[in-house]
Symmetry: C2
Subunit: 446 residues, 2 copies
Amino acid sequence: MRELFYPRSVAVIGASRNKGKVGYAILENLKLNFKGKVYPVNPNAREILGLKCYSSVLDIEDDVDLAVICVRADLVPGIVEECGKKGVKVAVVISAGFSEVGNRELEERLIEAARKYGVRVVGPNCIGVVNNENGLSTLFSDPEKFKMPENGNIAFVSHSGALGLAVMDKFAEMQVGVNKFASIGNRVDIDESDLLEYFSRDKRVGVVAMYIEGVRNGRKFFNALKKCSKRKPVVVLKAGKTEQGKRAAFSHTASLAGSYEVYRGVFKQANAVEARDLEELMDYVKVFSYYKKVSGRRVAIVTNGGGFGIIATDEAVNEGLELACFEKKSVDKLKKLLPEHCVVSNPLDLTGDADAYRYELALRVLEKDKNVDVICVICLLQLATVGREIVHVLTRGYKKPIVACVGGSAYSIKIVKELQKRGIPVYPTPHRAIKAIRALCEYSEG
Amino acid sequence: MRELFYPRSVAVIGASRNKGKVGYAILENLKLNFKGKVYPVNPNAREILGLKCYSSVLDIEDDVDLAVICVRADLVPGIVEECGKKGVKVAVVISAGFSEVGNRELEERLIEAARKYGVRVVGPNCIGVVNNENGLSTLFSDPEKFKMPENGNIAFVSHSGALGLAVMDKFAEMQVGVNKFASIGNRVDIDESDLLEYFSRDKRVGVVAMYIEGVRNGRKFFNALKKCSKRKPVVVLKAGKTEQGKRAAFSHTASLAGSYEVYRGVFKQANAVEARDLEELMDYVKVFSYYKKVSGRRVAIVTNGGGFGIIATDEAVNEGLELACFEKKSVDKLKKLLPEHCVVSNPLDLTGDADAYRYELALRVLEKDKNVDVICVICLLQLATVGREIVHVLTRGYKKPIVACVGGSAYSIKIVKELQKRGIPVYPTPHRAIKAIRALCEYSEG
């Protein structure tokens, strides 16, 4: 498995000279970013992108750790056999046209070829893998259309390639850093459980995100999930929950989606964090990329907008959080320090004329409060009195984890980016901030 | 009420020469944007921002339709009395320091003064009103921090000023056009029901958004809501749903939040669309700004990403929509027109190599299908084969309403903006697109 993410050399079998072809995009990408050797393989070319081209993987003088295969489906079994002979450790099969379109026999031949020589396989019918540490990427996306997230502490496993790409692109937008990504398609060999197992031991990975339609082996998955969740949070989105969704999943990746109720039970028992939709998946993964655990579910809400404070309060109660009951000495201090028109209560309403300094006063009191586990800071920046200084105040380092809520247009977006760069996760609405806190609590208690 | 949104002349009582003061920001804003006369009132100034300044509203030679009052709270009753003598029709009282901080007596005096002369009052403790038709705005936000949405067909009523500003700023970001806005604070006179009544007759308004904590008069509200909903959709977010939220609402706008169950009943009976959180409020208002009604809840899902299609299918079923069962002739046509590897079913998976033309083929068939009421188009732009042409294809005009789902970073965001400008509402995740469709269906059936 190590060679899948840390190969010393990669062969692109099906490399193409034609811009717009998958075999061109993959090669170009690797040539530009990958910190290792790259060998194009194409019997009809001598050189591609300035790299010497080989007729067959067998002709490459050097060892080949990883082969990326993007040739016509019917050629794949033969190519995999050649890879086996060459001693290739892992093959990522991008090519589609196997069991997902009913072509089971061809898939069987691919499996046989791989087994015969002990070649591990990712795919077929996948977009492959990314490792942001060494620039490895088999994605064939257009750089104008797709932005690769920066390196971070997330590993992301997706049954769907297009969904994987879309979520990664969104992660880039959300400033969520991804360490490794794998789209595993038809999963004839390496599956979600193998990757979970690997990521559970990978020190660069702090949180695992998964999009699954149906798993191959339930018992294996449960064990891997449980093991990984013990070490780090795993956020899972399961698709194919309804009968209609299951049918769609079957024609997508030939997945047997299975009973959603059984999956929920598995997630719960394994202490995985279930995301009910894509937004939750992205939001939860984000919060876990900042914090692993919290000490409990007693939340303090600090706001400069009364309405947002009330909404956050409602959401906190509905999501099963507790509104922290501040210690008497905190209440006394807050009453002494804050202007009289502030509402010293939970939510703590600093009111519309609050400046960043008032936030700091409040946070310095609440971080010491033994009844507070986590602080939800709402800051509406449309109001005149609070501006960029809030970034310094919120990132000054407090003894309690802070999850922030800031919503608005260009100015707010700029501040959000600064806050996130300096270690504070921010959400655009109270509901999403509170749900992220709930996910943190759930995992911490499991 | 007409003078509140269409005054010929506005006096700013408490106008200030000091940048950073509320009375400066309001005056500057009006001077720059308002298509009517503006009179600053301040006994200690001769001229502000190049405008002649008056000691009292009584000194203004011309008639004054609307007075914006931003003086110290204890001065307000006297000022309102002067406004009455002058014949001012409506006073927007920005000043805070009334019942929301326990100062009931002062509020009573304000009410008396207004009643005596028949001056209608908005506020106190509010940020006032906006009319994007004539540039009227009493908001005192920093233009660097707050972006005013463009003129559109939405009217938005908010019990909270800060929340109103934040949502308006977000609307600007989401390209949701707002026609009129009112933040009504303590509501000593003009309340949410009066505004509903007014907006129900306002032809520029196609949809009403409301953020409410507690209404003053339940019967009046129900009647106004029902009447307005008959003519146009009203989307309501109610805060103070939980006991803790109610307490917070009381210290915010002195609102008695009341039983949430009763409110839900009222919304349902009046056929108002309830938003359960801020994101839903903004998302639903957006879809109604494009479409008023749909013919039914049979949805067709068209996608180039299998995973997104499955998720949308699950969400549609969970939200109580029906997955349209395509007519036989549609199925036959689609099978004939589309490449063999496409999955002709609902969701219709055009697969990852779909170009814009393939979307058009599909939409031309589905728009004629009698079993389809609304089409959810998912387009993942990270994939190489589909690009900007999708804008032309989706906006070519079809017989069925289209709600789109496009998610990602810069490139996708650019396409989303173009689509929305040309009449297609777009959401970043399947769940949000499907929920918007559900809101449309709910209103249409009510």
